[in-house]
Every structure is written in C-alpha cells, then in structure tokens.
C-alpha cells in the first residue's frame, strides 16, 4: 500500500491532547491568507467591530 502523508494532519500524533482537537485543512489555511477573500473579511470584520463599538458607548 502506498503511504499517504497529509502534512497538515501530522501534528495530531504529537500527543493525546493534540489528537483530540481539530486542525484546519489545506483549504482553510489557504483561505486565511487569500488576499481577495481576506479583503472581503477585512471589510466585514470592521463593520462587525464598529457595531460592537457603537453598542458599547
């Protein structure tokens, strides 16, 4: 059988604590620094934060 290594998943085997968590997939990691998507999130996050700021004053 061919060995299939998924680099993002290797840390699951570091210890029992890490084994019971969730790890982002390659896609989720890519989206974190995808400039177009993150620009949209930048706008959305700023609006959401401003709403919280407004509710707090």
């Amino acid at each position: 059988m061919e060995k299939k290594v998924v680099p993002e998943e290797l840390n699951f085997q570091n210890n029992d604590k890490m084994n019971l968590t969730m790890i982002p997939s390659r896609y989720a990691r890519f989206m974190r620094t995808c400039v177009i998507w993150q620009f949209i999130r930048f706008v959305v996050l700023n609006i959401k934060m401003l709403i919280v700021v407004r509710k707090s004053h």
């Binding site: 840390n11 969730m22 790890i23 996050l45 509710k55």
Partner: protein
Amino acid sequence: MARLVVLGGGVSGHTAATFAAKWLGSAHEVVVVTPNSQWNWIPSNIWVGVGDMSKQDVVFDLAPVYRKGNITYKQAKAVSLNPEGKEGADTPFVTIEYTGQGKEGQTEEVTYDYVINATGPKLNFAATPGLGDANGLGEYTVSVCTADHAVHASHELDRCIEKMQKGERQKFLIGTGHGMCTCQGAAFEYAFNIESKLRKAGVREMADIKWISNEAFLGDFGMGGLHMKVNGYVVSSKLFAESLYTERNVDWIIGAHVNKVEKGKAHYELLDGTMGEEEFDFAMLIPPFAGVGLKAYGKDGSDITDQLFAPNGLMKVDADYTPKPYSEWTASDWPRTYQSPAYKNIFAVGIAFNPPHLISKPAKSPNGTPINPTPPRTGMPAGITGKAVAHSVCDLITKGEGVQLHEASMAEMGAACVASAGRGLLTGTAAAMTVYPVVPDFDRFPGTGRDTDYTFGEIGLAGHWIKQVLHYLFIYKAKLKTGWTLIPE
C-alpha cells in the same frame, strides 16, 4: 476654576485627561501625573519583542502632546491621597514624587477638586520567587510588558535563534508567571509571534515551544472563554484555541500556578494539586498585577488606605464587593460609574479599579492555591471607562453636583480584541474577536452569557491588517492629531 488631577497616563488615563481637557477648555485645569516621559502603545510591544518593530515605533514623548492639549503635565508618581486635606487646610490633595523634568526625587502636594485614579497596574514580578523582585523583572525570564522589556526580549530571542542556526535545540516557555495573572492575550500573541518568527528564520524545527497558563482551559483569556457561531454551530473558544496550538505545534500546560523560577527552570503547581517543573532556554512569563501602592490619609494624618483601596491595592468603586459563590454572581455586581463610595470626587478607571470578582470560574488546587485568571480591563474597556468618567467629572464641574453620572458597565459593553499570530503584509495572521458583553450576563443571555450575534472570532490575514491599522490609528489619536475625537476607544 476647578482642577481635575488624573493619576496615570496609560490608555485609560490618557483618554480621560485628553477628553476632559477638550470638554472643559481653558476655564478649568486638567493635570496629569505620570512617572513616564513617553506614551506606549502596549499592544504592539509583542512586535518589538520579536524584533519586527523598534521601541520608537511604539512610543512617543508626552510633553508636546500635553502642551497641545492644554494639560498640565507632571512627570511624577503619585504617592498618597489626602481626600480631606490636612490639619489647617481642607483642600484635598495628592502627594507626588517627581521622576523627571529636572525635579527627580522632589515631592509636591497637588490640590484637586476631582481626581481620577488611572495608575494602571504594578507589575508584581516579586509575587513569584525568581520571576523578579521589588525592583522589577528578574534575570531568568523576559517580559513584553513595557517597551524596554520588549527590546530586551528581542535581543534574547536573537541569541536563541543564533544558537538554533548553529544546531543547538532551544526550549521556549511562554505564558503566565503566577496563578492569579491576567493578560493571557499578550502572552498568547507573543507565543505565536515567536513561532512565526522562528519559521521565517528557518529554525522552527529546532524549537520546542510550550504554553503555560493559569487558565482552566485554552481560550479562557480571563473572560471564561467565549462562544461564537461558526459554520452553523455555536462553539467554545476552547476548540479554536486548541486547534491553533495543535496546528502550530505549541504544546500546553494549563491550570498552572508558577510558584518559582530558577535559571532555566520553572516550577509549578497544577489545579489537581500535583507539582511539576519545566526547563527552558527562553521564557516570557507575564507577572500578576497589583495596585501601585497608593496610600490614603485622613485629615489628622491617620492611615485610611483600607477605606479607599482593597488589600490588592486596587481602588474600591461602586461595585458590589459582597463575597458570594460563583453561582450567585450577577452582571449588576460590576461598577457603572467608577466613583469611590468613600469620596464622591474620586474615581478609578482601567486596571486601577478593583473588580467585584473574577469573570472566569474560580478554581483552587487541593492545596488551597487559587489558580484562575483575573479579569482583563485593558484596551477597549480601559478607554471607554476613562472617557465615561471624564464625561461625568466634566458634568460635575460645569453643571454642579447632582448630575446623572455617565455609566459604562463591563457587563453592558463589548470589546474588540485582535490577537496577532504572526506579522507580515501578505503572510501575517491574527485572531480578530469581539465579545458582547465582556462580563457574561446569564440573565439576559441564558446559555452562553453573551449575545452570539455580536460575539465572534476568526483568524486570518484580515485580522493582521486590522491590528496593524489599529496600531497607527491609536497612536494618531493619542497624539491628538486632527480628528482624534472621531476615533472610538
């Protein structure tokens, strides 16, 4: 002419003083007493601590800003309060001791009509043997609590990187240095900025990074954690924190009270009562906070410190300090006006006010050692409480006593927090979070204690951009540049 004296020039004190001076104009006097000659945007110290920013990027001189703001600036530390004056003089005053302006060591009595205590925390390194002493940070660990500490931390980190480049494995221990610490967020940011820095330096595989914290679970942050909506689920911050630590291979020890630090070794006690020790080559352990040690004296010179301050040195305000179990804590325990119940012309804001209790669930080891985070009051809550109290004092001065004081309960305000996990215009990431309200209110929001429409968090490049923008925005605001009042706290 009335005189408002603001003790402290950090986020809370600076906000209170600058707004009060603007609203009062030249008809009244605002005095700031702060031992520092420079203002420090503390959230960016973590970038100084990994060498991504210089000290000059995060500080500026206070004197020209206060001149511009029509604020009397005394570079001094407050020593004591005399709220009733002294024999032969009824006017209340603060005794200060100069630390600069060519008057080092001289004392002065500064009379006041109103005083706002915004002295911030004393970094209580001495609480943990080996972490430091009464003079501050010790020799075995580093700190990012001040800009100078962060510069030192950066140099020590560079030494470790050099060793790793030569093939010597290094152990990093980052977190809290006592069971009663707050500011886990700063340590969290520093841990992941170090991890990011080591990856960029190509030595990540030579480093073992471990987190040690007094939190009962990862993602507590002194707020009992938070629940947020993600992909159709409402989930605890614990899941996301554990996910990030695992993704970046940062191991963790939680529920830990670090009780002793030696060269290259930290000793700790866990919530289950067991003892342990962790070796390190580089450690950044946040110290617990305490009040700065202000004393208070009656007219006859008697010590009345216990009337104004709690035993931890933080000032008592309009909170409900009645001891009660966790199940009976309510949002209404938290202060609304920050006015001293003993003297109506004294207020305390930011870290200087004594919270009624923890926010996180209290916990003790079987040995009786309390191991739980204390409530965070930095950042947005510090700014909002400073501004609210400045507003109240201005109304008291201009409209007279009997006005309705402005309110800013942490159980009714939200907070936005951006925690960096690595810097870089296109490669940086940060966790952008908001909580509403900061103190959970289980009567209003049964289940999570917070409004999950306004409590959220996500990690990504957008968060990094926000943190970077906030860095420039808040320094711009603190310098009182054009339009500064339009920038919210």
